[in-house]
């Protein structure tokens, strides 16, 4: 079955420390993966997608098919990075696509 696992409910780091939010997936096809972020009192928004191989707000994520992982990384955490982060896997269906989300990880950056 298709599944996304985010093993950490909460990740707490100090400002300036490196951040790695873990995401593992289970999918037999070719995966399309995303990271979404929800800041306090804001709507859920797309942070980055693996297909574009971009860096947004200093975050990067590399798809590792061998380890079935798509971890989100940032070398130096900032206080404004504190938010809820969701990893998501896109599933293609006959008439469209849908996203399967992990349970989410709260990132707390302490000063």
């Amino acid at each position: 079955a298709q599944r996304v696992t985010q093993p950490e409910k909460l990740l707490s780091v100090f400002k300036g420390a490196p951040v790695e939010l873990k995401c593992n997936y289970s999918y037999s096809g070719s995966p399309e993966l995303f990271w979404y972020v929800q800041y306090s009192r804001q709507r859920l928004q797309l942070l980055l997608r693996h297909i574009s191989r971009e860096s947004i707000k200093g975050f990067t994520a590399d798809l590792n098919k061998g380890e079935t992982s798509f971890h989100l990384k940032k070398p130096f955490a900032q206080e404004e990075d504190s938010a809820m982060y969701y990893c998501a896997l896109s599933l293609i269906m006959e008439y469209g696509n849908k996203l399967v989300f992990g349970a989410g990880t709260i990132l707390r950056v302490k000063s």
Binding site: Y36, R43, Y95, G96
Partner: protein
């Protein structure tokens, strides 16, 4: 700049009431989705629609129905609200294709008492 609009930010309803949650998008997206967001469970798909009058069940459709009479509008209906349907409900839309992300609404926090 708001592209996906959910009609209510907060709702309080009584057990047994019929509840309508409305969502409108202005991006001409084919796909629309309803999720519920619960702590520790992430986002779970209730229903989705890939075209007008078309709908598909998601992972947790029990107790819900949907309506899509126009491309821009997707409604979620709780036929008889129950306390276990207290949750944050998120609407989203996207273009067709695996590489496209979703655009989310700001959510409706529903409390059933």
């Amino acid at each position: 700049d708001v592209k996906v609009t959910q009609s209510s930010r907060y709702l309080v309803k009584r057990t047994g009431e019929k509840v309508f949650l409305e969502c409108v998008q202005d991006m001409d997206h084919e796909n629309m989705f309803w999720y519920r967001q619960d702590p520790g469970l992430g986002l779970r798909l209730i229903y989705f629609s890939y075209d007008v009058k078309m709908k598909e069940k998601g992972d947790i459709p029990e107790g819900y129905s949907v309506s899509r009479e126009k491309k821009e509008r997707f409604s979620l209906i709780l036929e008889s609200a129950s306390t276990n349907q207290t949750s944050m409900y998120l609407c989203a839309s996207s273009l067709f294709g695996a590489g496209y992300g979703y655009t989310f609404g700001s959510g409706t926090r529903l409390t059933v008492v």
